[in-house]
């Protein structure tokens, strides 16, 4: 992605962003609400036309590729997708095969295999005939993820895939992404609000503020007290996660801690 700029009318939402996403890695885009994360994602998915710059997909400018070619290489899970009523899990996941089908080639062995694999990856085997509306929030999100996986794109963009889910379901979704990255080498770019999840699952973190990339690098480079103070205007402590050593972000409440803390940690505040 080179010098990407996206504007709506006179209002520039994303300023001159330069980013590279290595194949087979997960990049987390973080930043406060309305900082241009979703806009950046939609420009990358070729939904929005950048006013300047280009999105380069495997060596080719996406603007020069046909909509269908992009669709075979790049998948997207929007923030709050909606399906028509009465759709079953299998119906939904099959729709991910659309770019691989034609008017007179509406189903093939590859379609069957891709749908099968997507359902297995997301742990939805056995729920194929259930209505989407009947599923729990976590299952529904995995069904949407399965639809995106059935597309068999090398690159997967996800806009807040864990928002609105409870803690176990958030990690189910992130574990699916981790498996996918390792097993298929899928390049994943996800907008995440939970910085701890970004630290635990991402290889690259991109921090945005007011439509610009403030910092990019490994989780240990980006998820620091200084960068977070700069991006969110908020004081935090970053400590090593006791489970796996990834950065753990602990917000410092205004007015100081409610309970006594030992002197050394107070000095560090």
């Amino acid at each position: 992605m080179h010098g990407l700029r996206v504007a709506f009318g006179a209002r520039t939402v994303v300023h001159d962003v330069d980013l590279t996403f290595a194949a087979g890695t997960l990049t987390a885009i973080v930043g406060p609400n309305a900082c241009g994360k979703s806009t950046l994602l939609r420009a990358m998915a070729r939904i929005l036309r950048p006013t300047r710059g280009a999105v380069i997909l495997q060596g080719a400018d996406v603007a020069s590729l046909s909509t269908k070619e992009v669709a075979r290489r790049l998948g997207l899970l929007p923030q709050a997708p909606t399906a028509p009523g009465g759709v079953t899990v299998a119906d939904l996941v099959r729709r991910g095969r659309f770019p691989h089908q034609g008017r007179f080639r509406q189903w093939s062995e590859q379609d069957e295999h891709a749908v099968q694999t997507a359902l297995e990856h997301t742990g939805l085997g056995g729920l194929e005939r259930r209505l989407l509306d009947e599923l729990s929030g976590g299952q529904r999100q995995r069904a949407w993820l399965a639809m995106a996986l059935a597309q068999e794109a090398d690159i997967l963009l996800l806009d807040e895939p864990t928002t609105f889910l409870d803690l176990p379901h958030q990690h189910e979704v992130l574990d699916v992404l981790e498996d996918l990255r390792r097993a298929r080498g899928t390049t994943i770019v996800a907008v995440l609000h939970d910085l701890n999840q970004a630290g635990a699952y991402a290889q690259q973190v991109v921090a945005m503020r007011d439509g610009s990339v403030v910092a990019q690098g490994t989780p240990h480079e980006i998820l620091t007290e200084a960068v977070i103070a700069d991006v969110y205007g908020m004081a935090v402590r970053v400590v090593p996660n006791p489970v796996d050593g990834t950065p753990l972000i602990v917000p410092i409440r205004k007015g100081g801690p409610r309970w006594p803390v030992n002197k050394t940690s107070r000095q560090n505040l």
């Binding site: 909509t67 790049l74 997708p81 009523g85 659309f98 007179f104 509406q106 189903w107 056995g126 729920l127």
Partner: protein, 354 residues
């Protein structure tokens, strides 16, 4: 994880109703096919039945003879110039309104969208009334004026919406406003009309299929078929937009081009249908709902909706002719009287309706 892992039976994954013909594979859900065929048959049966009944009831041999140009001259005229065009018009207009209504609801992603809501029929009414009141009320000219009025209304709606990049529901709101403007115009012109013109205008406005003429049916059908071609060709892509604009785009649909082409097709088809039969209410709005409820398929099947519209209108016209053969009862009255209760029954019997 809540579900078992391991390979699943393919029957759970495959779309239903796969038909393989050499290299071609098409998926036609059996229930959708069955409902479309049954409703299509009902529409044709009603149309054939309506050839026999009316002010004069005719037997099968008389109808067959008259259709092939034999027998009493008044019978030949009655069949070839009145009843056959009217029966065909019922099927064609019904199917067109059903198709157009389904396209509108898919495009707007709103179950209340239909060509009559956004003013296509009001625009057509304004055009027709204007010509009728100017005195030269040849059927062809009224029909052309109606078609033009319908298209002008749609162009105003589209133009105003594009000015501010309004889509979906906002476009519907603009359409409701445009419809109200044209209706006010019609009401104002009727107040100022003299009695003879007023009667003719009222008959046209009642959408009773009475003013159907062979020439207008022919011209209208040609326009409708031309308008329906892009809709049929792009039906699969249109179906993919049911997941939302962003996902459709990422799945490889050129959303803007598809929506514009299909939308223009639906508007032209609805305007042409109205130009032949007058403004027939309710069919375009209700047929997609009835079709969805009968076919129990996710999303909207254009074929089922068209077949539902045809059956609804043809059946209503048959009933009108049976019940009140001497009165020009507006067929729209019957489509509402039969369609609305059916809609209630189907909605009440099903718990998941959207």
């Amino acid at each position: 994880m809540t579900a078992s892992n391991g390979p699943r039976p393919v029957s759970a994954i495959r779309p239903r109703g796969l038909v393989r013909l050499g290299p071609l594979t098409v998926a036609i859900p059996p229930r959708v096919l069955l409902v479309a065929l049954a409703l299509g048959a009902a529409a044709l049966a009603s149309a054939v039945g309506s050839l026999f009944v009316g002010e004069v009831s005719l037997g099968p041999s008389e109808v067959l003879a008259a259709l092939s140009g034999e027998g009493p001259r008044q019978n030949v005229f009655l069949l070839q110039s009145v009843r056959l065009p009217r029966a065909l018009a019922g099927v064609v207009i019904g199917a067109t309104l059903g198709l157009s209504g389904a396209v509108f609801q898919v495009l707007a992603r709103n179950p209340l969208a239909s060509p009559d809501v956004v003013g296509v029929q009001s625009g057509a009414a304004a055009g027709a009334v204007l010509v009728i009141l100017s005195g030269t009320a040849a059927a062809g000219r009224v029909s052309t004026a109606a078609m033009t009025g319908g298209l002008i209304a749609a162009i105003i709606v589209g133009g105003v919406s594009r000015l501010r990049r309004a889509f979906g529901d906002q476009e519907l709101v603009v359409g409701i406003g445009v419809a109200a403007l044209f209706e006010a115009f019609v009401a104002y012109t009727l107040v100022r009309a003299d009695t003879a013109d007023l009667v003719r205008a009222t008959v046209w406005l009642s959408g009773s299929l009475v003013n159907v003429e062979p020439a207008t049916v022919r011209a209208g059908t040609v326009a409708i078929v031309l308008a329906a071609v892009p809709i049929v060709v792009l039906a699969r892509s249109l179906g993919a937009t049911a997941l939302g604009v962003d996902l459709a785009r990422v799945l490889g649909v050129r959303v803007g081009a598809v929506r514009a082409t299909v939308g223009v097709g639906a508007v032209v088809a609805a305007a042409a249908a109205t130009s032949v039969g007058g403004p027939i209410p309710f069919v375009a709005l209700a047929a997609p709902h009835l079709g969805r409820l009968l076919a129990r398929s996710p999303g909207t099947s254009l074929a089922v909706s068209a077949a539902t519209g045809a059956a609804l209108l043809a059946l209503a016209d048959l009933i009108v002719r049976l019940v009140a053969p001497t009165v020009a009862l507006p067929v729209g009255l019957l489509t509402a009287l039969t369609g609305a209760p059916l809609l209630f029954v189907l909605v009440l019997r099903r718990d998941t309706v959207r």
